[in-house]
């Protein structure tokens, strides 16, 4: 690991000494980490370790209280979701990122719909949305009967697929997946893991947040273990077994 304050050259995303307070709670205590291009990083840790807070900061949902973030070597403020999206950071939030009453196609484009015309006459380009959505779902081998189907009738795995399709369409360089497999049955987990491998083929980096170590071990190149607001370990997959990771999580708990 590098020293705080010195950006690591060549990193896609570089976080230096990130701090976050929630009132009296010190949620992040100087988090420093790097993510490289087309790398799958498993972010693991017990509940309350700061995983969710960290990814909310990276995706622009909440502001940080201290520290520096650079993206492809440039310092960025990262103070809104829009900015994160514009940089190419897409986040698939834990089963809440889908509006159930809207169609699958509308969900994929929500917030950034293609439009036709200009000025006040700008209207949604619905045929294009349907076409692109269909193509994306096919490329993910998701067999949803129709892109016009309301998203609430999708299974958990399909919903994750919809959210991942969104990330792929907008040409993200980094996709953050927050607990993508937690609420899923076994087949759903396999589907999501195949999506993640698919992202890597497209040279998209991925942060996979979970506390299910077996799921993440199947796909990750590297693991970051968070304990009480700090990155306690940064290990490559070859150097570690699932059992080691379990021990690290438990050790973090015992320390707390």
């Amino acid at each position: 690991m590098s020293l705080p304050g010195r950006p690591v050259p060549g990193a896609l995303l570089d976080l230096q000494s990130i701090e976050k307070w929630y009132g009296e709670v010190h949620a992040l205590r100087g988090v420093t980490l790097q993510i490289h291009r087309s790398e799958i990083v498993g972010l693991i840790g017990d509940n309350g370790a700061g995983k969710s807070t960290l990814i909310k900061i990276i995706s622009g949902v909440i502001p940080r209280d201290g520290g520096q973030i650079s993206w492809k070597g440039e310092n960025v403020t990262l103070d809104s979701v829009r900015q994160a999206q514009a940089l190419g950071i897409e986040t698939v939030h834990q089963d809440r990122a889908v509006v159930g009453i809207m169609s699958v196609a509308r969900n994929i484009f929500l917030g950034r719909e293609p439009t036709r015309g200009f000025g006040p006459l700008r209207v949604l380009d619905r045929p294009r949305m349907a076409q692109d959505a269909g193509r994306l779902l096919r490329s993910l081998r998701l067999h949803i009967p129709s892109v016009d189907q309301e998203a609430r009738f999708c299974s958990g795995g399909e919903m994750q697929g919809v959210a991942i399709a969104r990330a792929m369409h907008f040409k993200a360089s980094l996709v953050i997946l927050d607990e993508p497999t937690t609420a899923l049955a076994v087949t759903g987990v396999q589907t999501v893991l195949s999506f993640i491998r698919r992202l890597k083929e497209d040279q998209i980096a991925c942060i996979f947040v979970t506390h299910n170590l077996h799921d993440v071990y199947a796909v990750a190149d590297r693991f970051l273990v968070m304990v009480r607001g700090r990155v306690a370990a940064n290990i490559r997959r070859e150097e570690v077994t699932v059992e080691d990771l379990v021990q690290m999580q438990l050790a973090g708990k015992a320390e707390a």
Binding site: V81, R82, G100, L110, G111, P145, S146, D148, Q149
Partner: protein, 337 residues
């Protein structure tokens, strides 16, 4: 991708269930026609539409707010207060203003009163029920404070939209219908409209996808206020004067009722302007029908409520039936439900 592979019968059933409000409308219309000799006439249909125009705009305004996942208790009193303010302005305070200036002014005042709700809901983050409960009281009593009794001598230009006719047709009717079409267009064809549905359907997801809830709420309440201002203009036309009770009474409850029987969900996200129009027309039919049947206005009000309860009950089963249809997916799709 291919559309849902449902059989023709299934699709027909789904169509009926999704458009049930229109079936109810026809039944209600025929029922009144069978019992009242003068109900089934072109003249009466014209009158029903006319009566439904002002309350219709309030229903559309409330529908917009409900779809966005909020509610607006003050909407009828925005109509009342903006009429009163613009009436007092053009008749008493600034009588040199030409009458027609009242038309853009009333819409503007309505938007301003609505934006107060929007500011507190969107930017301060107060529950919409509490915000609009407060403005409901404030706007109502401010209307009385400005003038106890009625302002008469309103400029003909201000009466025209709500009371005038062109080739025998009340102008209020196309005003209402055009607002419906325009709002429907915005809701289904524009980004803004999509975000109204999105924040109503799942505000947290919308926020995480970068939709600014503060501005969205602000504009939803502001647009609703503008529609209410326009509704106030139609009320002025009905009465050719501006009493301090204008758009008071049951109107706020009817605005909710029309939206809900038109299939707009109180939970937010769901509903269309087509449905809301159906709700408006049903309100018009019930109101006209009961007015022609019963002499006692108290009993008439009671009956209005009873029929609304029935319509809401039917709608509840409509939603359940619709979900059952949509759930039954043809062919293998995999995954848990």
């Amino acid at each position: 991708m291919a559309g849902p592979r449902r059989s023709a019968v299934q699709r027909a059933q789904l169509f009926v269930v999704q458009n049930l409000i229109w079936a109810i409308l026809v039944v209600a219309f025929l029922a009144f026609s069978a019992t009242l000799p003068n109900f089934f006439t072109l003249q009466n249909v014209h009158f029903i539409l006319y009566v439904a125009s002002a309350i219709g705009l309030l229903v559309f305004a409330e529908s917009l707010v409900l779809i966005s996942g909020s509610m607006d208790l003050s909407i009828a009193h925005i109509a009342g207060l903006s009429s009163m303010l613009v009436g007092a302005l053009t008749v008493r305070w600034l009588p040199f203003l030409p009458g027609w200036t009242g038309i853009p002014l009333i819409v503007l005042v309505g938007a301003l009163l609505g934006s107060v709700n929007g500011f507190f809901v969107g930017w301060i983050g107060i529950n919409p029920f509490l915000v609009t409960l407060s403005t409901f009281l404030m706007y109502n009593w401010l209307t009385f404070y400005i003038n106890r009794g009625a302002i008469s001598g309103v400029s003909p230009a201000l009466v025209f939209l709500g009371g005038g006719r062109v080739l025998g047709l009340f102008v209020a009717i196309p005003v209402m219908l055009l607002s419906c079409v325009l709002l429907g267009f915005v809701l289904t064809r524009t980004r803004f409209g999509g975000y109204v549905h999105a924040i109503g359907g799942n505000a947290e997801a919308a926020r995480m996808l970068g939709i600014d809830l503060r501005w969205m709420n602000f504009w939803v309440f502001t647009i609703a206020g503008a529609l209410a201002g326009l509704s106030g203009l139609l009320y002025i036309g009905y009465l050719a004067s501006i009493p301090s009770t204008i758009a008071g009474g049951d109107d706020i409850f009817l605005a909710f009722a029309g939206a809900i029987i038109g299939g707009i969900s109180l939970k937010g996200g769901e509903g269309s302007m087509t449905g809301a129009l159906g709700g408006v027309l049903l309100l018009g039919i019930i109101d006209t029908g009961t007015a022609m049947t019963l002499i006692n206005p108290a009993l008439r009000g009671f009956l209005n409520g009873l029929i609304l309860l029935l319509a809401i009950l039917i709608n509840k089963y409509r939603v359940e039936l619709r979900d059952r249809f949509l759930m039954s997916r043809p062919g293998p799709v995999g995954g848990a439900p």
